[in-house]
Symmetry: C2
C-alpha cells in the first residue's frame, strides 16, 4: 500500500517554513503498514496543485494533502478540490456548530469569513478537526482516496490520529513495516560498512539496511516488510542481534531514540541525576534533555552562564581564571562544573564554553573552539573540540558531543 | 527561471529525518531570483529516482538533487546518474587528492570504499566539496541543468555557496524576487484578513500576499517578482507601508526575523540586558536567544530550575511557597524572577513554570498549565496560560508567549 504526501504553500517553496508535518505523517503511516512512496511540495498555484493530484495518483493509492485550507485569500485548496472532484460547495451543519462553538469559547466575534470554514464540497466526507476551524475532507476517485487536512501541525496531527489512521486501518489490509535501529559513535560510516560488508551482502533481499550519519554518529537501520508480523519480528531480531555484535565496540544504544534519551535511561537505571552548566551551548543541552517526557526524574537543572558575571556570581568561577585563562579554557569549564556540582545536588554534570561564531574568534581560539567538561564530584574529564560550521550547527555539535562524553563517562564507571 | 529540488533517501519517507535542506536551498535560490516550483522526496529506489528526474525536468530548468552519495551500499544516486546521463565512471584526480588529504588530516586509514568517492561519471562537471568526501556533480541535458549534492546539510551548503549559486548567477539572467514580511500578535488571521480586505483586493496582480499563522502569531508576507529591482522595491515599500498602518495595533516587528531577535534588537537599542529563570521551558528560551549571533551583548544567562532544590538553592524560592502554592503558581514564578534579578545584573527577566505533559497534570493544574512572569526590578507581571498540545509544542508555546510578554513589557515602558 503506497501513500503520497502533497504539501501546499508558497512558504514551503521559498524556505520560510520547514516541513515537519511530512516526517510525522510518514512515521504514523509506517506504523500501520503504509509506505510513503513520494512527498511533493507545491506552491499556492491552482495549476501546480491540480498537476500534483493527477501525478501522485499514478504512484499511490492514498494521497494525503496538507495546507491551503485557511480562511484567507491565499488558501485555494478547498475550492480547487471541489472542482477537481466535480462537487459543489455546501454548508456542513456539524462543522458550522463546531466553528461557532470555538469562537464562543475564545470570546471572539465570528465573521462571515469564519463561517465559510463550514462550507465543504458535497462530494467529500468531512473529517472533524477538533483542534481548529478548518475541517479535514476525504474524497474518492478511481482506486485512490484523497485526504485533505490543514497545514497547522497540531491540527493535522489531531485529524490524522482521530480520523485518518483508524479509517485506513479499517479500509485496507496492510502489510507490516518493521524497523530496528541502533546508534553508534566514534567511527565513520564507510569504516562500519567495511566491517560488516560480508554480513550486509548476505542479507535477504527483502531486508534493507540504511546508514544514517549525523553529528559524527552513525545510525544503522534494518527494515523489513511483509504479511506475517511474527516471522518478520523473528527474522529482524536475529539479524539485529548479529549486527549488534558486529558493531559492539561503537554501540551507544540499540534503540531508535535520541542520545539524550539514551543518557536519561542510563541515569534512571543507575538512579542518578545530572545538571548542566552551559556557556556556548546556551541552554540547548538542557532543552534536549527536558524535551524528553519524564526527564524531571533525573534532570536537576542548568546554569546558562553566558556573561562573565554569571560565571562568577552563580557558578563561583574565579575572576582570576577568567582573566588569565579566558572563558574558553580547560580551567574555566572545570571550575564551572565544580561550581555546578556544589550548587546543586546532581550526581553528574556537563560544562561547556566555546566560541560559536560568527564573531568572537581569536588566533589561538578560533570560531568553533569548545571546551567541554563532564564528570562527578569524584572525577572530571575535559576535552577541547573544534567545529567548523555555522553558529547553530556548532551549538548542536557541542551539545551532542557533550551528551556523548557524559554517556561514555557514566558507562565507563560500571566497567571498572 | 524555475527550479525543482529532488531529495533522495528512505529516511525522508519513513519520517526518520526532517528535511531542513530544502528550505535553506529555496531561500538561497530565491535571493538570486530562482523560484522553486516543486520539491519532491523519493526513496532509495532506482525506479523512483529515475522517474523523478524525468518528471521534474518537465516543470523546471534547474534540478537540484541531494542525498544518496555516500560510500555505502544504500547510496545509489551516483551510478544511477551515470546511467541516466549515459556516462561511464572515471577517477577524478582532484577529488582523489582531496579525499586522501581529508583522511590524512583525520589520521584515519583510507580504504577502497573511500577512494570510490573520487569516481565520477565522465559526463559531469565536478563541484568540489570542501567539507566532505562526496563531490557535487553537474550534468546538462536538453534545456536543463542537474546538480547532485550530498544530503549532509553542511556539505550541501558548502557546495551551494562555493559553486552552485555563483554558477547559476553567471549562467542565467534572473528576475528579482523580493519579499517584505511583518509579524503580528494578538489577533487571528481571519480578523486581519477582514480588516485589510479592501486593501488586499486592490493589490496589483503581480504582488502576492500570504498569511502565515504560527504559535498564535501571524506573519504577513508580500512577494513581488520582476526585472526592475528599483521599481519592485519602490512598489513593495509603498504597499508594505500601507499594510504597516493597517495592522499597526498588532504589529510586533516589520522584518522577517524571529521574535527572539526582535526582542534582542529592542534590548540593544535600549542598551539593556536580560536573563531567564526557566522551569517548564527547560532552557528552550535561552537556546532561542543564544542561537542569535551577537546575543552575548544583551543576554546574561539562565537558571533552569527543574528540581525543587535548584529553585530554592540557586534562585532562592521559599520552601514554604513551593509547599503551599506549588511550583506552578504565580507566587513561585514571581519569586523565581525576583531571585534571578538578585543573582544576576540583568535588567529584565523571564520566569516560567508549568506542566508540559504528558504526565504531571492534576485537576486544578492540568497538563498545559503554565505561569509566566516577566519584568524588571521595578515592576513585574505574571500571567497564567494554558496550552493543549504535546510536550514539545507546549514548551515552544511557553517560550514564544514568554518572549512576547517581555517584548510587550519593554515596549510598553517607552509609551509611558
Amino acid at each position: 500500500m503506497y501513500a503520497s504526501i502533497i504539501t501546499i504553500g508558497d512558504e514551503l517553496l521559498i524556505g520560510q517554513t520547514i516541513d515537519t508535518n511530512s516526517a510525522w505523517m510518514a512515521q504514523e503511516l509506517n506504523k500501520i503498514g503504509v509506505w510513503v512512496k513520494r512527498r511533493v511540495a507545491v506552491g499556492d498555484s491552482r495549476k501546480d496543485i491540480w498537476q500534483a493530484l493527477d501525478e501522485e495518483s499514478q504512484s499511490a493509492q492514498i494521497i494525503l494533502i496538507t495546507g491551503g485550507l485557511g480562511p484567507t485569500a491565499d488558501d485555494i485548496t478547498k475550492p480547487l478540490l471541489c472542482d477537481y472532484f466535480a462537487g459543489k460547495m455546501v454548508v456542513n451543519e456539524m462543522v458550522l456548530e463546531h466553528v461557532t462553538a470555538i469562537f464562543r469559547r475564545l470570546n471572539r466575534p465570528i465573521i462571515e469569513r469564519n463561517m465559510k470554514q463550514a462550507e465543504v464540497p458535497d462530494v467529500c466526507t468531512v473529517l472533524m478537526n477538533k483542534r481548529g476551524t478548518a475541517p479535514g475532507m476525504l474524497f474518492r476517485k478511481g482506486n485512490c482516496i484523497y485526504i485533505s487536512m490543514p497545514g497547522v501541525p497540531h491540527e493535522m496531527k489531531g485529524i490524522m490520529t482521530d480520523e485518518v489512521l483508524p479509517l485506513l486501518k479499517r479500509e485496507y489490509k496492510m502489510p507490516f513495516i518493521l524497523h530496528r535501529t541502533l546508534l553508534t559513535a566514534g567511527v565513520g560510516e564507510s569504516f562500519i560498512a567495511e566491517k560488516i560488508s560480508a554480513w550486509e551482502e548476505g542479507l535477504p533481499s527483502d531486508i534493507k539496511l540504511a546508514y544514517l550519519p549525523n553529528y559524527g554518529m552513525v545510525r544503522l537501520r534494518l527494515t523489513a516488510t511483509g504479511a506475517n508480523k511474527e516471522q518478520l519480528d523473528e527474522q529482524l531480531d536475529h539479524l539485529f542481534a548479529e549486527l549488534h555484535v558486529l558493531v559492539k565496540e561503537w554501540l551507544i544504544v540499540a534503540e531508535d531514540i535520541p542520545l539524550e534519551q539514551a543518557l536519561g535511561n542510563l541515569l534512571l537505571s543507575r538512579k542518578k541525576t545530572m545538571a548542566t552548566a552551559e556557556s556556548c551551548s546556551g541552554g540547548y543541552i538542557a532543552h534536549l534533555i527536558t524535551a524528553i517526557p519524564g526527564s524531571s526524574e533525573y534532570f536537576k537543572g542548568t546554569v546558562v552562564a553566558y556573561a562573565y558575571d554569571v560565571k562568577e556570581d552563580v557558578l563561583g568561577v574565579q575572576h582570576s581564571t577568567l582573566e588569565t585563562k579566558g572563558a574558553v579554557s580547560e580551567e574555566t569549564v572545570t571550575e564551572m562544573l565544580n561550581g555546578l556540582l556544589q550548587k546543586t545536588t546532581a550526581d553528574y554534570g556537563i560544562a561547556t564554553s566555546g566560541v560559536m561564531g560568527p564573531g568572537g574568534g581569536t588566533d589561538d581560539k578560533p570560531v568553533g573552539t569548545v571546551w567541554v567538561a563532564v564528570g562527578s564530584r569524584e572525577k572530571m574529564i575535559a576535552k577541547r573540540l573544534h567545529f567548523r560550521f555555522d553558529r547553530l550547527k556548532n551549538i548542536e555539535l557541542t551539545a551532542t558531543n557533550a551528551l556523548l562524553m557524559l554517556f561514555q563517562f557514566i558507562e565507563g564507571e560500571q566497567d571498572k
